[in-house]
């Protein structure tokens, strides 16, 4: 466990415990406490990583492996957006406002645990905590869709937990330890790796299911669509990425795919990633619900990360880490915008919307930025990460994979363009006539995230330096 980052776990946990007591009679205090906790964490992180001296030194002094720090920052950033958004989004009468914020903070603590731990069992425990909190968060507004989504999420990811446990036990039997370090040392030795790889493969499968990779993606659309609106941003933006994708990237580096020690697993992972890209994008083309389309888009984007992780070369890992971060930014914007739409127009059904650009210009244009970044249009951040991934594929001689990845980047643009035309552009619908732009606080998170997207895209050289440091540290 990375001791340096432990505070980022403990403080939200502490705040989560404090909130129900402190805000017992003043529900708004819960908003303030949650936001302040996360904002303070974020400010601290910024100081930690973005000090001028740190940037000038090429991030050489970054604590830990850098990967954890980056992801903790992403977690805090997304969670702050979500809580800030929620503070103005939640209806006044919601009886469990305090519990809602506590759950978000617990999930932040759990995610921090996930990304800072260095032991598989601890990882598993935190991932399970995350599953529990997500389950409760999805059902926040107690809609039928939310409950259905929550149950699907729980039951369909249950086999994942089982597989992880089985994998853990086999790993324990064969390796005698569950720490990352031992696995890394083992993989870089010459000992035949059979059962250890098998155990890792089982764990990988579990995390693949948890990340919603095709064909284990079935829970994703229902959960994201049914979830309480800000929660779907939280869930899609960061939670499933941390509880699944992060672990995949981690295991991929530990198994040293670039060494060719676990070729079969690597190939299977890449195949699943590609399948995810293809199926997710194709399914997204035909969706009529905004949120459901975003869910499929999420599946497709996760496919890129899994594909890169499966490849496992340093460049690919850089691309995967970078895309993980980027995905958190643009998917948060899009889901928050879908929540704004829901609030302003009362629906996210794309057939009923249209011409929303006129009443909601900010929402429309932040969506454009996010979707262009998702589709990988330069100079936005998504372009660079996809470029890294496709370059890595091309360099490794996997031309077909590279071409398909590139091609479906275009399909991504296509379905988002369809979405943008149906929802924001085009003729004004009845919904657009009566709708008006949501209040500034609700826009602020989306604008902030859009700014991050643009900034990271434009300041890519700095970010690249950082990501390279990360890749060097977690691979060596």
């Amino acid at each position: 466990m990375d001791k340096g980052l432990l505070a980022y776990l403990i403080i939200p946990l502490f705040a989560a415990v404090v909130i129900p007591f402190a805000a017992r009679n003043r529900p708004r205090l819960a908003d303030v406490l949650a936001n302040v906790t996360l904002l303070a964490g974020l400010a601290n992180l910024a100081w930690l990583a973005l000090r001028p001296s740190m940037i000038a030194g090429g991030f050489a002094d970054i604590p830990g492996d850098g990967f954890s720090l980056l992801l903790v920052a992403a977690i805090y950033l997304v969670a702050l957006c979500v809580t800030f958004f929620s503070a103005w989004f939640i209806e006044e009468g919601l009886p469990n406002r305090q519990a809602y914020y506590s759950l978000i903070l617990v999930s932040v603590a759990a995610m921090t645990g996930v990304v800072t731990t260095s032991d598989f069992f601890t990882l598993y425990v935190f991932v399970e905590v995350l599953a529990v909190t997500s389950f409760a968060l999805i059902t926040t507004d107690e809609s039928a869709g939310g409950i259905e989504g929550a149950l699907k999420y729980f039951f369909l990811t249950f086999p994942a937990s089982a597989l992880i446990i089985v994998g853990l036990s086999i790993l324990m039997m064969t390796l005698g330890s569950l720490s990352y370090e031992n696995l890394r040392i083992f993989m870089s030795s010459d000992i035949p790796s059979g059962p250890v790889t098998f155990a890792a493969a089982l764990m990988l499968l579990g995390f693949v299911i948890k990340s919603g990779v095709v064909p284990f993606h079935a829970w994703t659309p229902d959960a994201y669509q049914g979830a309480y609106a800000p929660v779907s941003a939280h869930l899609a933006g960061i939670v499933t990425k941390i509880s699944g994708v992060y672990a995949i990237v981690k295991i991929a580096t530990l198994l040293r795919f670039f060494d060719g020690r676990a070729t079969a697993v690597s190939e299977m992972l890449m195949f699943l990633g590609l399948l995810s890209i293809v199926v997710g994008a194709l399914a997204a083309l035909k969706q009529t619900s905004f949120k459901r389309m975003l869910a499929f888009s999420s599946i497709s984007q996760v496919g890129y990360i899994v594909l890169a992780a499966g490849l496992g070369t340093p460049l690919a890992i850089m691309g995967a880490v970078f895309h993980l971060f980027n995905h958190a930014t643009f998917k948060t914007v899009l889901f928050l915008n879908s929540a704004s739409l829901e609030k302003a127009a009362g629906t996210t059904d794309m057939d009923k919307l249209g011409g929303m650009e006129h009443p909601m210009p900010w929402t429309s244009w932040t969506s454009v930025i996010a979707l262009l970044s998702t589709a990988g249009v330069p100079p936005l951040s998504g372009f660079w990460s996809k470029l890294l991934i496709i370059l890595a594929l091309w360099e490794s001689g996997l031309r077909t994979y590279a071409v398909v990845a590139l091609l479906f980047s275009i399909v991504t643009l296509a379905y988002f363009m369809i979405m943008q035309r149906k929802v924001f552009f085009g003729r004004k619908s009845a919904a657009a006539e009566s709708a008006s732009e949501v209040s500034a606080p609700l826009l602020a998170p989306a604008v902030l995230m859009s700014a991050v997207i643009v900034a990271v895209g434009l300041l890519f050289p700095y970010f690249y330096t950082y990501v390279r440091v990360v890749a060097e540290r977690i691979i060596l």
């Binding site: 259905e148 699907k152 039951f155 369909l156 086999p159 597989l163 035949p192 790796s193 059979g194 059962p195 790889t197 098998f198 493969a201 089982l202 499968l205 693949v208 299911i209 064909p215 284990f216 079935a218 829970w219 659309p221 229902d222 676990a262 070729t263 079969a264 697993v265 299977m268 199926v279 194709l282 399914a283 997204a284 083309l285 035909k286 969706q287 499929f296 399909v411 296509a414």
Partner: protein
């Protein structure tokens, strides 16, 4: 300013100035155009007198400079171009039937400027530049000459035929320049190219196609008869009769003698092309029933003599070809001018409606008789001497068959002009033509001048041969002996026999046609075999352009359309269809059924585990 630039720049400037003048002004445009043409003529005459001049300007790159060079051939050609420009601009002074006069003179001067440039250019790229410029004004000239659709259609036909052959010329010039390593014609001439090198044959043939198609030889001639009916007489007198012939034959001579050293095979090809052109076109001319159309086929036919002459590759033949070129331009321009006069005064060019106009238009009639006698090769007019040289050159090669073909062409030419002259100027005058009067002075003057040249070049054939043709041959680098003078040798007698035969034929025709002069060709027109051939020709079965426009172009355009549709479908419909199908399948599959999802997840997991176990070392 260099003197050599005046014949190019002056008409160009005058043409642009014309555009500023209102269409309503009277005579101003005509005066400006005529003045520009006459001054250019004077400048051209001056250039011709002076020794070879050169003008060079750096142009595209180091190797392609803008070089104009007035050696004696070019200067001679420039003089001819300027002469005909001046004649036509004077002739058109009061001719109404020529389209908007502003545009007519604009096109005329532009054509003059570009033709002068093409004649003077020494660099092949510069020549091509002027040559292609002519193409543009060829189109506008025809298209604006009459305000109907037929003119546009014919303009497009002329444009496409010449455009394709100009493209050939472009490729030919590129190949030639590539082989020679320079684009300058005078530099190439110092070390002539031979046809031994593989690409050289290709390059020469392309140059030849460009040249003979400009001259209007078979099979690139088909736009000329159409233009005769769809365009104006001055245009016909100027472009197809004069400028195009001059430039085409000029460049054919340049390419065949100056740039390349040809072999016997290529000579045979050229001679065959010439003979075929003579016969095919004259056969068509013979049966025409329209004044200008008949003349236009002769314009094609006479090209054959020039090509034949140059194709002989001996000095006599080449001299004959060049001499015939200038002679033809003279009398054919004159003939078209008479056609324009008759049309203007009588209101029609249809032979069956005309007749007995000699009395009403005696000067026009005399000019016609002189020019017709000249084109038919009656001694001692200029056409006789040039044809004689061509015949002699042909006989010198030993290919008597071409000589016979040329004589046959001569026979048919005379026969058709007997028919034409008889039906227009003699016989009975039609009722409606009682009040026809002589053409105005401005039209008679150039006609008379050209007819006078015909006579002068005939009786004094030594003059042009010594002053124009000899220096031109010298410029081409051809050694030659003395060729002027009237010889009462066998060729003269053969020409007498041809004249007699033509007259007899005319009599026969008249007898067969019931005394009607315009039907004097019917006994040949409706002879067996020929009748069917003529019918096919009437249906334009031999017109490559019409055939390709009717059959090949629709086919290819349809094919290309299909190909385009296919690509459109492959790019547009197919992906969206496939994506729609796959996307639809994917979204139908996600129907929310929990057991289905669970089954899918478990099945996927089982496959994954089996694969991991099989490949991961658990064997």
């Amino acid at each position: 300013m260099n003197l050599i630039l005046i014949p190019i720049v002056l008409p160009l400037a005058a043409a642009l100035a014309l555009l500023l003048i209102s269409e309503k002004t009277k005579y101003l445009k005509e005066l400006l155009a005529s003045a520009a043409a006459l001054v250019s003529l004077a400048a051209a005459a001056n250039i011709f007198m002076l020794p070879a001049q050169e003008f060079t300007m750096p142009w595209l790159t180091e190797s392609i400079s803008f070089t104009l060079r007035a050696d004696s051939l070019s200067a001679f050609l420039l003089l001819a171009v300027s002469l005909f420009s001046a004649a036509i601009s004077v002739y058109s002074f009061s001719l109404a039937d020529k389209g908007p006069s502003k545009w007519f003179f604009f096109n005329l001067l532009m054509t003059q400027a570009f033709a002068a440039g093409a004649a003077l250019a020494d660099n092949m790229v510069a020549m091509l530049f002027f040559w292609e410029g002519l193409l543009v004004f060829l189109y506008t000239f025809i298209a604006l000459s009459q305000p109907n659709k037929a003119a546009k259609r014919t303009a497009m036909k002329a444009f496409l035929i010449n455009g394709v052959t100009d493209l050939c010329l472009l490729v030919g010039i590129t190949i030639t320049g590539y082989i020679a390593g320079t684009m300058s014609m005078s530099e190439i001439a110092q070390n002539k190219l031979t046809l031994d090198y593989g690409w050289a044959v290709f390059g020469y043939v392309l140059l030849m196609i460009g040249a003979v198609s400009k001259a209007g030889a078979f099979p690139f001639h088909t736009w000329i008869p159409d233009a005769a009916t769809d365009s104006s007489a001055p245009f016909m007198a100027y472009v197809p009769a004069a400028i195009d012939k001059l430039l085409g034959i000029y460049f054919l001579a340049r390419a065949s003698i100056y740039l390349y050293a040809l072999n016997g095979t290529m000579s045979l090809v050229l001679m065959t092309l010439g003979a075929v052109t003579i016969l095919v076109a004259v056969m068509m001319a013979f049966v025409q029933k329209d004044y200008k159309r008949l003349l236009s086929y002769h314009a094609v036919s006479q090209t054959g003599y020039m090509i034949l002459g140059i194709g002989t590759l001996n000095p006599i033949g080449i001299a004959g070809g060049l001499f015939h070129m200038i002679n033809h331009a003279t009398y054919k321009s004159c003939l078209f001018m008479t056609a324009g006069s008759v049309e203007r005064q009588a209101g029609t060019g249809d032979l069956s409606k005309l007749g007995g106009l000699f009395r009403a238009m005696p000067l026009t009639g005399i000019a016609f008789i002189i020019a017709a006698a000249a084109i038919s090769g009656i001694a001692p007019l200029n056409g006789f001497f040039s044809k004689e040289l061509v015949y002699k050159g042909t006989l010198d090669t030993g290919w008597t068959v071409f000589f016979i073909a040329a004589e046959l062409g001569s026979f048919l030419t005379l026969a058709s002009f007997l028919k034409l002259g008889h039906s227009v100027y003699f016989g009975k005058r039609h009722e409606s033509m009682k009040d026809v009067k002589e053409a105005p002075f401005s039209m008679l003057l150039p006609m008379a001048a050209l007819a006078a040249i015909c006579v002068a070049f005939g009786f004094g054939a030594e003059l042009p041969l010594n002053n124009f043709i000899s220096p031109a041959l010298a410029a081409l680098g051809v050694e030659h002996g003395h060729m002027a003078g009237f010889h009462a040798d066998k060729l003269y007698f053969i020409s007498l026999i041809v004249i007699l035969a033509a007259v007899v034929n005319h009599m026969l025709g008249l007898a067969a046609g019931g005394g009607k002069a315009d039907k004097a060709s019917d006994h040949i027109h409706y002879a067996p075999v020929l009748k069917e051939t003529y019918e096919l020709a009437d249906r334009r079965a031999f017109d490559i352009y019409e055939q390709s426009m009717d059959k090949a172009v629709p086919f290819f355009s349809k094919l290309l359309f299909r190909v385009d549709r296919f690509f459109d479908w492959a790019i547009d419909t197919l992906p969206s269809g496939v994506a729609g199908f796959l996307g639809g399948t994917a979204s139908r599959f996600h129907n929310g059924s929990y057991p289905l999802y669970m089954a899918l997840t478990l099945a996927g997991a089982v496959v994954y585990i089996l694969l991991a176990a099989a490949n991961g070392g658990l064997k």
